[in-house]
Amino acid sequence: MPEARREAFMARIRRGEKIEAHDWMPDDYRLLLLRLIHMHAVSEIMGAYPEKEWVPKAPTLRRKMSLMAKVQDEIGHGQLLLRVAEDLAAPLGRDRMELMDDVITGRVKFHNVFHMEAPTWADAGIIGWLVDGAAIITQTALLDCSYAPYARVLKRICAEESFHMQHGESIILSLAEGEPWQREMLQEALNRWWEAILFFFGPPVVTDAARRMMEYRIRSRTNEELRQKFLTRYVPRIRAVGLEIPDSALRFDEEAGLWRYTEPDWERWSRVVRENIGPKSQERIALRRMAHQDQAWVREALVRARTAAVV
């Protein structure tokens, strides 16, 4: 009987049907989705930290306003995604508090790029341009996800990402048009971020979990396909603004139709994500703990205020 149920579910997936939160789904499907969306939600929130560091230091008022808007968007995306994760986690008896506790206890990972330092304004530019650019590629690749609540939220997120894309380009164009020291600052930022951005898409090997996600039509592209799409889009533009990509092995292999590049240090970056040992991991988690635990009394007081009002 459970086998028949699973088979009927897979038939729905193969017909291209979308799954809703209240539909029956195999535990495996639920857990894979939850892991993906939980990490996505938490990465949106942790992704706001490197950028928020630049809000007080932004070079102009306009830059400050747009950066604040972006930070607000990232937190907003986190909220939308958390709702999707919560509905998946509810049958497992887990709620938002627990999903956020997981950041502090290290039970949920967040993207490698958000463990890094952003020491100069050019880093803020590279984050907006290339880190967001990479994230946009992975997110648009999920728009056809078989899980409808996730796909709907991604549609809204991608619409806002189009602003992020322009915002990042605007910052790096200003620096590229600027004085030699500004172009140098931009080049140094690119040197710092390149390997991390390549790692962002994940290892080229198709893991068992990735294969299952493709069977379930949660995702349809491999890590390597997405990295290749990123390189095709961004390498010519990076070169066009006069920047040098810090990888002498990078070239397009016409015959294979593939970019060849020096592989990032998979093991070192995996440890950064798994063990939260990047240069900024602990500092940002501490900020998250402060928001989550030290402000908990506010959340409780709000509910108490409502109860009191009803009485």
């Binding site: 809703e20 939308l80 508090m97 809204r156 635990q293 959340r299 409780e300 509910v303």
Partner: protein, 125 residues
């Protein structure tokens, strides 16, 4: 006065079990638009749901009204395609059921009407 760590832990322990309700959010973009469902959020009260809805869903888009409805108050149809089944052809209810009018009017050397033309005509000064 700053709280001690013990006090902080006590507050956190109590607050951890605080649960917010899920509110479904509907946004009305203009007087001539209906409220449209845009998503859901967690909030401690209906008033907060409306505030958070503005933050979450209206950072750019314009709107004139928001509804926040506690999810438990939403009544939905069963998850059964038969509920929406069409027992027979309903083309007779649609414009497409009268596609032959245009051809038949030709015989009388006149044209079929459509509602957009009528609206445009009535609006014209």
């Amino acid at each position: 006065m700053a709280m001690t760590q013990v006090e902080k832990d006590q507050v956190y322990e109590r607050a951890r079990h605080t649960s917010y309700d899920v509110y479904e959010i509907f946004v009305q973009a203009s007087d001539l638009d209906p409220h449209v469902h845009v998503g859901s959020l967690l909030a401690p009260s209906p008033e907060w749901a409306l505030q958070l809805a503005r933050e979450n869903f209206l950072r750019r888009a314009d709107a004139i009204n928001i509804w926040a409805v506690r999810r438990s108050d939403v009544h939905a149809t069963p998850d059964d395609p038969d509920w929406f089944a069409r027992e027979f052809d309903r083309k007779y209810r649609d414009v497409s059921g009268y596609a032959d009018n245009a051809r038949r009017w030709k015989r009388f050397k006149a044209q079929a009407m459509n509602i957009d033309d009528v609206i445009a005509d009535v609006r014209k000064e």
